[in-house]
């Protein structure tokens, strides 16, 4: 399991926050094989949920002109 993906705790220094799964079939990411990604998925999903709705990042043209 570890050989599929092993995210380290030193993301702060190394920037490894998201795995490269671009070549892995989606079907392999679901079920037992994908469980090793649980921690990563949980973190990404938690961010999505935490941000709430509507999403953050709001600007105003009126403010641009101030």
């Amino acid at each position: 399991m570890k050989e599929i993906y092993d995210i380290s705790d030193d993301a702060e220094e190394n920037g490894h926050t998201i795995p490269d799964i671009s070549k892995i079939p989606l079907r392999d990411l679901v079920g037992d094989e994908g469980r090793v990604l649980d921690a990563v998925i949980r973190r990404v999903v938690a961010e999505v949920i935490e941000d709430g709705e509507p999403a953050a990042g709001f600007g105003s043209i009126a403010d641009d002109r101030s």
Binding site: P19, G31, V45
Partner: protein
């Protein structure tokens, strides 16, 4: 076997931190979004509450399309509206799993995604997509109108053609999907040359309600023409005077969601955290207004994606700060977003000073924003919550601000900008106090 996404190279990260990046760095950000979206889709598939036959069929077709045409699959899977759909669906899965009327069509978008991917990858497919209020969305292409308000709609993909429904009432997606035909509404496209640029005008997608401003419903033809005209003019200015920014925007900005102003004549624009490459905007009054919004909002998208790739903060420090362009106190993360966006706007305004009919307004805008950037970036430098990436990022911003500070402009504009900042700060302190 998967590995961690490589951290951006020192050069690319430095370019991004200075407010630029170019197509190569933006491509790295798009790769990050691809992997993030795949993770979100994997979560949706794992948390799937209903029968899994349709889920498995959609995943199989998506996987085959990813193998047959990886470039198109990447383009489709990183589309901002796919991010918007995935995040909305995940929130619904968490909040109201029993609400099948809402959740069913959300989950069914996985099949819609598979159908679109199949149509561009020479994959034949038979899928089922649930209708929602008579509508069946095919992401990036458009919306078909179903005979029935809810319930399953059969979708067949053969040799690249998509047909929805059965028999005589079947709707065929036109070869040029942007065209409207009976039963089909295509996503309008804004296009421009000479550096090819294309923005989808997302006025149909049910996941476009991403901002604090209401999205517009189907935009009338004459208004679409107005968007097209202003986009072409804005693009001409951008490619003529900020080629580097035009190149990265062409690479990473994919759609605009038309918004409805709260009050007539009020201009608003916005970016959503999990929809890289999209922005929302009320109908622009001018090409320059559209240009500024594209530059400003794409910076927000870039910074959002950078933070998907590397952490800039260890945590929120809980404090709020003076942001000269806002009336309210802002947390550090939002202040950083503002500096990043306004730095780019100042850079473009500086370059537009070379356009005779824009010289006066561009110089005024450049002077005002440049004056605002210094007091905004200073508290960021002092933050103890910055990671090593964050410290490097803020240092890059400061370097760019210093370069703008060294630009010579008439003293009248400088003095006007200083007075403007003073008034802003005084008003802000009266409103919020010094300890905000």
């Amino acid at each position: 076997m998967a590995s961690a996404l490589p951290a951006p190279s020192a050069t690319h990260f430095a370019d991004l931190s200075r407010g630029y990046g170019g197509p190569v760095a933006v491509d790295i950000l798009i790769d990050t979004q691809l992997n993030k979206h795949l993770l979100l889709i994997a979560h949706i598939a794992e948390a799937w509450p209903g029968p899994r036959q349709e889920r498995d069929a959609a995943l199989a077709i998506l996987d085959e399309a990813r193998v047959r045409n990886p470039q198109y699959a990447r383009e489709l899977l990183t589309h901002p509206m796919v991010g918007a759909w995935a995040t909305r669906t995940i929130r619904r899965l968490r909040g109201a799993a029993e609400d099948w009327e809402q959740l069913g069509p959300d989950l069914g978008q996985l099949s819609a995604l598979a159908a679109v991917a199949a149509s561009r990858s020479q994959v034949d497919a038979d899928l089922v997509i649930p209708a929602r209020r008579h509508a069946v969305l095919l992401p990036t292409l458009g919306m078909a109108i179903a005979d029935h308000p809810v319930g399953p709609v059969r979708v067949q993909v053969r040799s690249g053609e998509i047909a929805l429904g059965d028999g005589v009432s079947a709707i065929r997606v036109p070869p040029v999907s942007t065209a409207d035909t009976p039963g089909w509404y295509g996503v309008s496209q804004l296009t421009a040359e000479p550096t090819p640029a294309r923005l989808g005008l997302e006025d149909l997608n049910p996941y476009r309600d991403l901002f604090h401003v209401r999205p517009a419903s189907r935009v009338k033809t004459e208004e679409v023409d107005r968007w097209r005209q202003l986009f072409a003019e804005a693009w001409h200015l951008l490619t003529g005077h900020a080629t580097d920014r035009a190149a990265e925007i062409a690479c990473g900005l994919h759609c605009v969601v038309p918004l409805v102003p709260d009050r007539p004549g009020e201009g608003r624009s916005a970016t959503a955290r999990h929809a890289f490459g999209a922005f929302g905007m009320t109908p622009p009054a001018s090409a320059v207004e559209l240009l500024v919004a594209m530059v400003h909002e794409f910076q927000h998208s870039k910074l959002n994606a950078i933070q998907d790739l590397v952490p800039l903060f260890t945590r929120d420090d809980g404090n709020t700060y003076f942001a000269p362009w806002r009336a309210d106190p802002r947390p550090a993360g939002a202040l950083l977003q503002g500096v990043y966006a306004f730095l780019a706007v100042a850079d473009v305004a500086n370059r537009l000073r070379g356009v005779p009919h824009l010289r006066e307004s561009a110089e005024k805008q450049f002077a005002i924003i440049r004056e605002q950037l210094r007091p905004a970036v200073e508290p960021l430098r002092e933050l103890s919550t910055l990671t090593s990436w964050g410290r490097r990022f803020v240092a890059g911003l400061e370097g760019s601000i210093a370069r703008l500070d060294a630009t010579d402009i008439p003293s009248a504009s400088v003095n006007h900008a200083k007075r403007s900042l003073h008034l802003n700060r005084t008003a802000w302190l009266e409103r919020n106090g010094s300890g905000a």
